[in-house]
């Protein structure tokens, strides 16, 4: 047996029991008194009793009080509630937005806390299963948090304590707002019969209650039924200046030089002057003062446009370290005022060019400053020990010129000619005289590369596996493809450069540079250290059982143990900031940045434009409804008891 509110009962007992005993003793003990004759007293009592039914009712305050007490107890038993809302729906899903914008402090302490309060009020207002009532079961509630992903905080239950505790446990995050997953999750749970409801399926659709500030990024792809979703908008303010983009990278020409680029966005309706601080490894290097224009009408489209200012810094020499950019003006949302970048020390890429002589390719590779080039002939390459190549990795990448299709050990490859065997690419036939029909100019490998004028006289007809990326294609076959499988990366160019007019195009040098950079990243030279919020991180190549410690954000000395496969899965990093992972020999720093323009826009939306339907925000505040009055009545009864006692003892003459 469990007690839900034992303290209440104990307090009540502590007051009521002694009082009751006191009354009991006072009432029972009649003092003896001697009178000469009881004759007249008896007559008086008789008279009093004879006249009692009506006369006493009118005059006896004690009787009135006792009557009132009785009525009050009866009223309390009837279970009165204030502001009754008939709960037609039996199931509710509370969708609570804990994205970054919900951390705005325009409502103290924060929007999320306010939303949690409202949700709690709603939960507490639900009707209880009354002990005396034979009616249906109480409504059931489920709580889901939504940010980039949706999470069930509490499954369907009518236990209010459990629900309020679950709501209280919701932590703020710095992610985006995706409602779709939450809806899918809610609908999925609504259809499964659960244990608590005696395996009955939900005959009624559950009602969804969304507590959010409306910065939902996937509204256009959502569909809801009529009255399925009730939206409670949270938030009032718009004052926010955010760093919405930041990138630090080494100069192409000089690896020691670092270019830092940042974009500041102003979401408020007034221009804002702020200062941007640049610190490296915690030391303040420079401060720039700048004015960000106000949100204004776009002159062409007429839509509202947020004011933006871009800014860049150049740092002449930097080995490695953490770069921090901070916008100093205090606004409603703090998470987007700071951004970090982690730079690792510059390192030469060791590249092996396997060719029987190709000056074009060689000079293009030499143009890449950070590449240390090795050379060997195809004959020498085929004689190398494949196993030791795969394990020791003496070269970061291998460039195969006019390859003949022989199998290669694991690693990163840029292949010109026939693709190597064993990677799922077939290239049995050859074709002639083709031009590139289409290509993906936005892919990092084809960045700034123009293939419009490329003419190929001979090529291999490749058939790429399904998971491969197609970068450029001829009329019917792929021209350039990207294949990634079993820790190897292959950029496959299905022709020999010398069979084309490509060497005469400036795009060729760009392509080689991009490919080398891309492969360098794949080879783990430029490890990814800048993460989006809640981006999963898995590190590889550890011995099973290796222990690492993560610090930063919500984590303090969080132990992580490598899996059997030697993988280290970092826990979800939901807050922005710097995270430091201590591994047995080394350590790494991760920067989790918000850099989310739509989430920084904290302007509360009163309407959600969903596909085919517009949901308008309901009441700003959820008022406490279904407020049970019986505790107050019981209190009043206690008070009446005291009054009765007082009246009784002070012998009030009427």
């Amino acid at each position: 047996m469990n007690w839900l509110t034992p303290l209440t009962a104990i307090y009540a007992a502590a007051i009521a029991v002694p009082l009751f005993l006191l009354l009991y003793f006072l009432k029972l003990k009649r003092q003896e008194d001697v009178v000469p004759c009881t004759l007249l007293w008896k007559r008086a009592v008789q008279d009093l009793q004879v006249n009692a039914p009506f006369q006493r009712l009118r005059r006896n305050i004690l009787l009135l009080i006792q009557l009132l007490m009785l009525l009050a107890i009866l009223a309390a038993l009837a279970g009165p509630v204030l502001a009754l809302q008939s709960m037609k729906t039996q199931r509710y899903v509370l969708l609570i937005d804990n994205s970054a914008s919900m951390n705005a402090t325009d409502i103290k302490p924060s929007r999320l806390e306010h939303a949690k309060e409202q949700a709690t009020v709603f939960v507490e207002s639900l009707t209880d299963a009354s002990f005396f009532s034979l009616k249906r079961q109480p409504p059931q509630v489920m709580v889901i948090t939504i940010n980039d992903t949706a999470k069930v905080v509490c499954n369907f239950t009518s236990n209010k304590t459990q629900l309020t505790e679950a709501i209280e446990r919701i932590k703020p995050g710095d992610g985006g707002t995706q409602l779709g997953q939450g809806l899918a999750l809610a609908r999925a749970y609504c259809q499964t019969p659960d244990v608590e409801s005696n395996n009955r399926t939900a005959e009624q659709a559950a009602k969804l209650l969304l507590f959010s500030d409306g910065g939902i990024q996937d509204t256009q792809s959502l569909k809801i039924a009529d009255n399925e979703l009730a939206y409670h908008a949270v938030g009032t303010g718009t004052d926010n200046v955010a760093i919405t983009a930041m990138k630090a990278r080494r100069s192409f020409e000089n690896a020691e030089q670092v270019n830092i680029f940042a974009l500041l966005t102003n979401y408020s309706d007034a221009p804002v002057t702020t200062e941007l601080e640049l610190s490296i490894n915690g030391d303040l290097k420079t401060v720039k003062s700048l004015t960000v224009p106000a949100r204004s009408d776009n002159p062409t489209s007429g839509e509202k446009q947020n004011g933006q200012v871009s800014i860049d810094f150049d740092i002449s020499s930097l080995e490695d370290g953490v770069i921090q950019l901070r916008q100093t003006r205090s606004d409603l949302l703090a998470a987007d005022d700071t951004a970090w970048a982690v730079l690792s020390a510059p390192r030469d890429i060791k590249a092996m060019l396997v060719t029987d002589g190709n000056r074009v390719l060689e000079s293009a590779l030499k143009a890449c400053r950070s590449v240390k080039l090795f050379r060997c002939s195809r004959q020498e390459f085929s004689q190398m020990d494949a196993a030791s190549m795969a394990l020791a990795k003496p070269y970061d990448m291998v460039i195969l010129d006019n390859h003949d299709g022989a199998a290669v050990p694991r690693g990163c490859y840029l292949v010109f000619g026939k693709p190597p065997e064993g990677i799922g690419v077939e290239a049995a036939e050859k074709g002639e005289n083709q031009i590139v029909v289409d290509y993906r100019g936005k892919h990092p490998i084809l960045n700034y590369v123009n293939l419009d004028n490329l003419f190929v006289s001979q090529y291999h007809k490749m058939t790429l596996p399904r998971e491969a990326e197609l970068l450029a294609e001829f009329d019917q076959t792929p021209a350039i493809g990207l294949v990634q499988r079993s820790q190897s990366t292959y950029i496959l160019v299905g022709f020999d450069v010398m069979e084309t007019n490509w060497p005469f195009e400036p795009g060729f040098v760009m392509f080689v540079y991009n490919a080398v950079s891309f492969l360098g990243e794949q080879a783990g030279l430029a490890e990814k250290s800048e993460l989006a919020v809640a981006e999963p991180v898995t590190l590889q190549g550890f011995q099973a059982g290796t222990e690492a410690t993560l610090n930063g954000g919500d984590y303090a000395n969080e132990k992580i143990i490598a899996t059997e496969g030697g993988k280290l899965h970092l826990p979800v990093m939901e807050r922005v900031g710097l995270y430091r992972l201590e591994m047995p020999e080394t350590s790494r720093t991760f920067a989790v940045n918000m850099l989310n323009a739509s989430e920084s826009d904290i302007r509360p939306q009163t309407q959600l434009e969903l596909t085919g339907e517009t949901v308008t925000a309901g009441d700003a505040e959820i008022k406490r409804f279904n407020l049970p009055i019986w505790p107050y009545i019981v209190g009043a009864v206690l008070l009446l008891v005291c009054v009765e006692w007082f009246v009784y003892n002070s012998k009030i003459r009427l």
Binding site: P36, T38, L40, K42, A44
Partner: protein
């Protein structure tokens, strides 16, 4: 005492006495106060024939005189438990009244019979006359203990049976008799007494100062009554008390007697000197 000396017990009835005294009696007898004439019948004493009338009318008429007799005063006081109550004490008060009245009677040469009663007549001094009996009377009153229950009817039966002769019967009691007083009093009235009922009540009875939940115990028979004192109850009590007193008064008046209500807080002197005089018990 000196004040009492000037008083005398007065009966409004002309009652018959045994010794010649200073009272007018119903009997025509030898005195100087003329009462009436009546025709002579054979056998009448010729000494009383009014010869002046015979001279005028030549018919014999007898002269009748009112005979003066002494007065029998009977004082009966209640010494049951119920009088032993109140502040000031009812018992003392009753004894004081009895003493005063007895003193007046003795001093004025009335024949005094003093009786104390509760269930039965407790003690009785009969036919006292003159100042010599004062100490005896005082002893009786002083020695009387107030306790026990009353049986007024039985007492009246005994009083009537004791044949102390008609006269004034002064009953001093609280008249709170559970079995009623009517039958008993009727016996007294029926015997031809000139009855004075003096009802003595303490201030606590008239205006009770009780509070709260009480178990009231009867001082005589330990009968109990559980009451919760309230305004209404007190009102009913007072109403009943005054109704009771009025009933007693009406009863006495109807039967040709007299009724006096005395509170023990009143001064005995005032009561005796003024009040009893005013109702012409004393002159």
């Amino acid at each position: 005492m000196n004040k009492l000396d000037t008083l005398d017990v007065l009966s409004r009835k002309i009652l018959r006495g045994k010794l010649q005294g200073q009272r007018r009696s119903k009997r025509r007898g030898q005195s100087i106060e003329f009462a009436d004439h009546r025709p002579y019948v054979v056998g009448d004493d010729l000494r009383f024939v009014d010869w002046n009338i015979y001279a005028r009318l030549e018919q014999l008429f007898l002269k009748l005189f009112i005979e003066e007799q002494d007065l029998t005063v009977h004082v009966a006081i209640d010494v049951s438990g119920s009088v032993n109550y109140g502040q000031p004490d009812k018992a003392v008060f009753i004894k004081k009244i009895a003493a005063a009245l007895s003193y007046i009677s003795l001093v004025n040469n009335n024949r005094l019979t003093l009786t104390t009663f509760r269930q039965d007549v407790v003690s009785q001094l009969k036919y006292m006359r003159g100042r010599n009996y004062l100490s005896q009377m005082a002893d009786l009153l002083l020695d009387a203990e107030c306790e026990g229950v009353t049986d007024f009817e039985n007492v009246c039966k005994q009083l009537v049976a004791s044949q102390v002769g008609t006269g004034i019967m002064i009953v001093i009691s609280d008249f709170m008799f559970k079995e009623g007083y009517e039958e008993a009093m009727k016996r007294l009235f029926g015997r031809g007494y000139d009855v004075y009922a003096i009802q003595a009540l303490s201030p606590q009875e008239v205006d009770p100062e009780l509070k709260g939940d009480l178990k009231l115990v009867d001082i005589e028979d330990a009968d109990t009554a559980e009451v919760t004192i309230s305004g209404a109850l007190l009102k009913y009590y007072k109403k009943n008390l005054s109704a009771y007193c009025n009933e007693l008064k009406d009863f006495c008046t109807r039967q040709g007697g007299h009724y006096v209500l005395a509170k023990s807080s009143d001064s005995v002197e005032h009561l005796v000197l003024n009040y009893l005089r005013r109702i012409r018990l004393l002159s």
